[in-house]
Amino acid sequence: MRHLISTADLDAISANLLLDTAERLKQALLGREVRKLPTLRGRTVVTLFYEDSTRTRVSFEIAGKWMSADVINVSARGSSVAKGESLRDTAATLAAAGADCVIIRHPASGAAQRLVDWGGSINLAQRAPSVVNAGDGIHEHPTQALLDAATLRERLGSIAGRRIGIVGDVLHSRVARSNVFLLTTLGAEVVLIAPPTLLPVGVADWPCQVGHHLDAELAGLDAVMMLRVQAERMRGGFFPSAREYSIGYALTQRRLDMLPEHAVVLHPGPMVRGMEIASLVADSPRSAVLEQVRNGVHVRMAVLYHLLAGAPEDRG
């Protein structure tokens, strides 16, 4: 593995390898006084974030540091053409300065892929950095899907054959896209549940089912993944009101009771309590929200490990 841009690039073997590695790293760190592995000593990891993020950035930073990589955080602002340095120049600068890995979050879909392609054309003495997509526009967020899968595997024992509902603003969700491809690769059945206005035109081509009525789906689900209703991306008019959205799609106590006993509740965070998910549900033992965060660190350690560890010739 050279880069991680999309979960669609992962086959079942490589996805499971990442999840197994995350599990092993988790065990290795369990109960340790000093949570530090020497694996990535001497490697330089840059997080390049063009969007606000607390959990993802912190998670990558901790993952790098627990593996002894030098982690540098770069916050960038604004679009490339409008003002300041272009994305390409920023990427070239980081590469020339010696970054082994660039973890990028960017508001434009495809920004991570562009970094990969530019890396191939930059004339440098050393090899171009590995690129990890930490969220590009409304395209993908592959490490989020991996941590969701890790959490589901832990809670349910397995993913193959499970039925997983993804609920809410699929249209603007990079989490939904990454999960649809990863979970189906791992053998799960995915059903997207949203009002038609929050589903992309063309969703029929995705390897999943689509429904509009949450109540009708609940009894058949092994897990329900609530998506953030991304207010800042809303251009208005996708649904009549927050109240009506809640009536149709919020995960309330009543709906929690309609799920099978074993079913798990996931949320990528940050949660909008009330509108998306009732506080009682978010804090219930059925909710795996904090496990997701914990697994996020291990999954990202696994990703960095597979991108950066090992002899350079293995990484070509």
Partner: protein, 430 residues
């Protein structure tokens, strides 16, 4: 004025004949014609001769965008592409919304002299879509503007579009609409469909084009005006055009070479070289474009030649400007999509590249038959040649061709404008 003898050319692909050009007109057509003294002899040896191409839709970027194209470089690209006449869209800086700017463009075109450059005037002041520009002044000034458009933006206010169409009838000019309802394309980045959904690119629904065209056809009917639809991209729009034409509405339409060839399948690299407005659509749409062009529902081909400097494309998709070069690749893409597929013969090519666009714009001396007494304005084509597109070898300042590295059929061997060779064997005759 010097003379030219073209030996053994095939007008419209018909049997080979010799053609003598003298004093800017076609003087003789026949077999074994003698070269007038001092004449340049072009041994066409079976090359196809068509009337010079007319492009109703280019962006020559001057004034204001000279880092991407100038009237001089754009004229060179046009001549090399077989064009003898191009229309320059008004979204320059300053906008061509006054007699001053359109006269500048017209005069620069004349000074360069490689092709007839006709400025397109803006419909609204500053392309702002708020009030009409001085259409009458631009039409009656020396530039003699024949076509008006806010291209790049849609005249989306229905009342303003109605007024523009009505006003145009007194001037005998055509309003060319960039059909895109902006309320349906907010933030749009790609054709709304499976590819955009997968790539996380906000969709540009085909309905945003179709609904504006339907509305404008109704407005043109009531006004008795001539409407031209720029760069048709959707199969649904074709159905609207067919119905409008059947109803006797004075509407014409163009399609770009890229909407005949490329689909949104090429978007997966996120390389903005493929970003264009209207966006590349599906294979069903390109098939519909080809069929409509062959049938005549879409009247003509126009390149929407849109040069951009490297920094406008060498960035993330959302930040990139829309548009692609087209003048030097148009013929080859047309041969590939329309001739090789059997959809058009060379007479048909003359129709869509020269005759119809000249008629739509009301030009008297372009798109004329290759007959004695007609203007010596023609293009010689080698249909059997093939070439590989290299952006750094194109005449434009900008290099944003989506066909880089593609091997395409047919080559322009010579372009002649009123008896003057403007390009031959890939070289411009300045």
């Amino acid at each position: 004025m010097s003379s030219i003898l073209i030996k053994s050319a095939r007008p419209y692909g018909d049997d080979p004949v010799d053609v003598v050009l003298r004093d800017g007109v076609i003087a003789e057509v026949g077999n074994r014609l003698a070269a007038p003294s001092g004449a340049e002899v072009i041994d066409a040896d079976g090359l196809i001769a068509l009337p010079g191409f007319v492009d109703l839709h280019t962006h020559l970027r001057e004034p204001g965008g000279e880092d991407a194209e100038t009237i001089e470089t754009g004229s060179a690209a046009a001549a090399l592409g077989g064009f003898t006449c191009v229309f320059a869209m008004p979204n320059t800086d300053p906008v061509a919304d006054s007699a001053v700017v359109v006269e500048y463009v017209y005069r620069r075109g004349r000074e360069v002299g490689l092709v007839d450059v006709h400025p397109v005037g803006a419909v609204t002041v500053g392309l702002a879509g708020e009030r009409l520009a001085e259409l009458g002044t631009m039409a009656s000034c020396p530039a003699g503007v024949r076509m008006f458009s806010d291209d790049g933006k849609c005249v989306h206010d229905p009342l303003l579009m109605r007024r523009a169409l009505e006003y145009a009838t007194a001037l005998d000019v055509v309003i060319a609409q960039h059909a895109e309802d902006p309320r349906l394309t907010g933030g749009a980045q790609a054709h709304e469909g499976a590819v955009a959904a997968r790539l996380g690119l906000t969709g540009w629904p085909a309905t945003a084009e179709e609904t504006i065209v339907a509305r404008d056809c109704a407005l043109a009917r009531e006004a008795g005006a001539a409407l031209h639809v720029c760069h048709v991209s959707s199969a649904h729009t074709v159905a609207v055009l067919r119905a409008a034409k059947a109803a006797g509405i004075h509407v014409s339409a163009e399609v770009t070479p890229h909407h005949l060839l490329l689909t949104d399948a090429v978007l997966s690299s996120y390389d903005p070289i493929n970003k264009v407005n209207p966006p590349l659509r599906t294979g069903a749409d390109t098939a519909a474009m080809r069929a409509a062009l062959a049938e005549g529902v879409i009247d003509c081909v126009a390149t929407d030649h849109a040069p951009h400097p490297p920094e406008a494309k060498d960035c993330e998709w959302a930040a990139a400007r829309s548009g692609m070069l087209g003048l030097q690749t148009a013929l080859s893409v047309l041969v590939h999509t329309m001739v090789e597929s059997g959809l058009l013969d060379w007479r048909g090519m003359a129709r869509v590249l020269s005759e119809r666009p000249a008629q739509i714009a009301g030009l008297a001396d372009q798109g004329r038959p290759l007959e004695v007494g007609e203007p010596a304005t023609l293009t010689l084509i080698d249909p059997d040649a093939a070439w590989t597109v290299r952006s750094d070898r194109l005449a434009s300042v900008a290099t944003n061709t989506p066909y880089e590295g593609m091997r395409l059929p047919a080559r322009v061997v010579a372009t002649v404008l009123r008896g003057r060779v403007t390009a031959r064997d890939g070289e411009v005759r300045w």
